[in-house]
Symmetry: none
Subunit: 224 residues, 2 copies
Amino acid sequence: MVYRILIVDDEPILTELLSFHLQDHGYTVFVANSSDEALAKLNKKPNLILLDINMPGMDGLELCKIIRNHIVCPILFLTARITEQDKVNGLRVGGDDYITKPFGLQELIARIEAHLRRDERNNRPPEIVTSQGLIINLSDRKVFWNEQEISFSKREFDIIEFLSSNPNQVFDKERIYEAVWGYDAEGDSNVIKEHIRKIRVKLMQTSGSEYIETIWGMGYRWKK
Amino acid sequence: MVYRILIVDDEPILTELLSFHLQDHGYTVFVANSSDEALAKLNKKPNLILLDINMPGMDGLELCKIIRNHIVCPILFLTARITEQDKVNGLRVGGDDYITKPFGLQELIARIEAHLRRDERNNRPPEIVTSQGLIINLSDRKVFWNEQEISFSKREFDIIEFLSSNPNQVFDKERIYEAVWGYDAEGDSNVIKEHIRKIRVKLMQTSGSEYIETIWGMGYRWKK
DNA sequence: ATAAAACTTGACGAAATTTTGACATTTACC
DNA sequence: GGTAAATGTCAAAATTTCGTCAAGTTTTAT
């Protein structure tokens, strides 16, 4: 995925330079040299915002507060001074990190990546689902039974994710297909039967217990 | 609904900051700077707990175990280090998620909301119809008589659902057929008679009482 | 390019459900 | 009591659904 970064700073020299380097690192970059411009460019849906605190007119903190009402993404402040109070101020308005000028490019890139990674990992809802001694880690898509990993393929995990995230509810095959594949199944969904079977085998082999129950004529349900 | 969040951490700076932001996001916040304080504040009935793992005295894991004996709510660990083993440990004692320090505020909020949503979903009272000691769970499609489950087939349950949801009303066979099958019956509806019979037998066997009454010449009705 | 893994499909038997039809029983009304 | 209509019962037939296997196709990794 190509991430979009919005740089907001009133010094064209700096934004130019940053823009060049970030593009060089594979990012799509948008530049705003004023607060107004920044707000106008929110429609670009940036994945991350670099925001100068000291700007004429509306300053970065004020701007940050407004941005927060519009979109959710990491906001990194660029600033010369940084005191404890600054940090608190920045966090109060919804900032995620600080980078003090002058900063090394490597450092900047590293921080940007860290935030993007984290953002991606964590905007996903419930991290972990536990169920009868089973640990299902939704973010790294792994399943453990007593420290022992059980490996599942993509589809298999998708189904497990869907069912275990909605425990005790019955879903018919069409519903599962729709949830996992993203579109409706055409004819008979033997696919589901087969995947459910594979999942059951793996789970049974290592854990020795049933997790997916069949409700005859209705569908399947994750027992919890 | 205003959710209540309990923050447990021995660093006053962090708890202060978090408290401020969470309140800003509309949450009611309680702070505990020690394990003892945390236990004392459980009577505030928090909807979610943020729990630092590394604390002097009783650590977060130990605390979590104890909390679990008192209340049920999502517990999110705040921790610097995080290994697979940590996750397992945390989950063993009943934790629901991990957030590694340092974390972005957006991330934290997102996770909190995800868990609260999830919790709400799970704790949502199921649609239940009760009737003379019988419990009919419409969402799980299960019927209980004194903790004992009575299993019904799809059609059987559909009929029970229809009748019990409209208690004391009389429906003739055609009407029931239409409601359950979705289209009109063709010839004679002996099907209904038969299903009603099966249902009656099962209900009578375990509960010993009649639930479906025959109104001669009119139809059937669910007694309530 | 090749091998391995994952995904999909069709077929078949087993199991459970649903429907049917014949017959018994009950009810309302004469 | 007799009768016809409505309902109840039972077993068997018909249907649907499910689990499983094997084989084919696509995707992924090397």
